[in-house]
Symmetry: C2
Subunit: 340 residues, 2 copies
């Protein structure tokens, strides 16, 4: 493989997990920016904010009072997009097709400390969050109404996050979401054919090449996937073929927390700002028995492109055509690795 | 079909053109907004700005001078994401798959008047833009390197538009972009099976129902598709089964311009602001002979949700799961129709 072509000429790369392409235009990083700048808020926050509905002891909008929690706190979303026990119905009227969707949405406060983010927390503290995710995956998955559990975090105002208190969300539901369905199909096809994990085999190739790996410990690799869309997109992948986060033992939970800590700290250093992103875990559905093809992983999709104030807009061409990026993944790896 | 269920309970709807779902959570429109507000700039602009690189007579960053154009002006993008005559190569190395992509990117100035947008232009002036799109589709399509021509507009700073001068873009390329490939497959499957146009049949159903139609004239319908993702997403569809915009005659070009005028004017009235959006035309590829299944259409994807300053964020769950909307398409139709 002649890697310099990938650094010099426009090309598309295949996302083997979704079977979709990304357009890479390396030469375009040179274009001047004349568009919108984001506002940066590098103000340090207080450790407690009496107006924050996520701080310990405060009352939420629905009148419920948060307990005086000490590490992680989970509650059902007061304005959930999915609700349980709702009416079940189907529309199959010519070309109009719809289906009811039930689910349970939760909010996970990562810490009682209003001033923190995952990047400021110790690996041990992050491990408590990981343990909570495991619990929730288990409990929600045991509910016969739930087939999939989507764990994610929106961080930063630019990512639509409405409260700076460190927190993430869990939306669990009866059907597989679009993106999960795509990854389910590609992994199943590969596994049926090769009897080995698609992502596991990809990981082996990346470990051999050492071109896109940012960090690794005994159980996890942090890398920029070959097909990354966002300028500084990364992925955390377990070295073992594990279908969901429940398969991690206690030591592995710590090593996973360490990987999260390393990448979020590097992000904050990159543009000297509390780095915005959406992150999420893709893993096996909870109520199907045949999930051996799944290899769970966590992705970070951060929007910033050139500085704390200039982001990548996924608009026009990206919405109607194909996601497009300017700097290559290999350049992003070098920039992030230099910050470890 | 019991339509009230769709207005009351969470459900998913199928996009018949992409085979992907959208999650609709009608009850969620009630949640309070505590997140980022966009800055609105309702300042009126001068008709000429000496610093604008799109105004007539001005010099662009690469030293070229714009002519003293009177209606529409097209030039090749100075910072194109796709370039023609670049090196052709392929990567097929285990699970790393890539392919070079060539293309031509153009900028289309809609008017020399810096202060305008499509919403402020007459249908006759917009018709000049339509004529230009037709010319470009033809000329670019005649190029053997080009198989697809993506016409689009990013309007407003919030949509990553770097210059308020009324303009759109055309990115044309050798391969089909992701979204076009999806619509190619669904339309082909339907056409092979039924010998009629998927979108044409859908249109008939919507014309019967009259629930999601905002405007129609002799040749075009403006509607909110059943599967719309963005709060005020709309689609312009030709009543005749036409595979691309070249099939429009002169009268139809005017009626199409009228449809664009009607919807962009309604948008501006909705929140009393110059309404941001990305719009784009999906149509048949240019160099394949077997495109009878294609029914061209134009979509508008506007991000605003509740006001000029509160937009919908397609983040966390949407990126990892499925696009999600709060207000239903049927509510959006009522709001937009009231503004005609
Ligand atoms: O070409 P522009 O207007 O500078 O750039 C804008 O539109 C492009 C095409 O949709 C996007 O790739 C860019 O992210 C966006 O900022
Ligand atoms: O739930 P929040 O933080 O209020 O809302 C945010 O995350 C949700 C899930 O990704 C999105 O649907 C919303 O558009 C976004 O503003």
């Amino acid at each position: 493989m002649n890697n310099t072509d990938l650094q010099d000429y426009s090309h598309k790369r295949l996302n083997i997990l979704t079977n979709e392409w990304v357009l890479v235009s390396p030469h375009r990083a040179k274009r001047p920016w004349q568009g919108q700048n984001e506002t940066v808020n590098n103000e340090t926050r207080p450790t407690y904010d009496e107006n924050c509905y996520l701080c310990a002891g405060n009352t939420r909008i629905n009148g419920e009072k948060n307990p005086d929690y000490k590490d992680v706190y989970v509650f059902t979303n007061d304005f959930a997009a999915l609700q349980s026990n709702t009416k079940s119905f189907e529309v199959n009227d010519g070309l109009l097709v719809a289906q009811s969707e039930t689910g349970i949405c939760k909010v996970v406060c990562f810490s009682p400390d209003h001033s923190k983010s995952l990047a400021d927390m110790s690996a041990n503290d992050i491990k408590q969050v990981v343990k909570t995710w495991q619990n929730e995956y288990k409990t929600l998955g045991d509910n016969p109404e739930i087939n999939y559990v989507q764990i994610f975090e929106n961080k930063g105002a630019v990512m639509g996050c409405s409260n700076p208190h460190p927190h993430g969300q869990i939306w669990s539901q009866s059907n597989l979401p679009n993106e999960v369905d795509k990854k389910n199909k590609t992994q199943l096809a590969y596994y049926s054919n090769k009897k080995s994990s698609l992502l596991g085999d990809y990981l082996k190739q990346e470990i051999d090449l050492q071109e896109r790996i940012i960090f690794e410990n005994d159980a996890f690799v942090v890398l920029v996937p070959f097909w990354a869309i966002w300028p500084f997109e990364t992925m955390i992948v377990p070295k073992k073929h594990q279908k969901n986060i429940l398969e991690m033992n206690d030591d592995e939970a710590f090593l996973y927390a360490e990987a999260i800590s390393v990448i979020t700290k590097a992000y904050d250093k990159l543009f000297n700002t509390s780095f915005p992103y959406s992150s999420g875990i893709h893993q096996a559905p909870t109520n199907s028995e045949n999930n051996e093809h799944w290899h769970w992983h966590m992705s970070f999709y951060p929007p910033l492109l050139r500085s704390a104030t200039v982001k990548k807009f996924m608009v026009g061409y990206e919405m109607f055509g194909t996601p497009q990026r300017d700097i290559t993944g290999e350049t992003a790896v070098k920039m992030l690795k230099a910050l470890l």
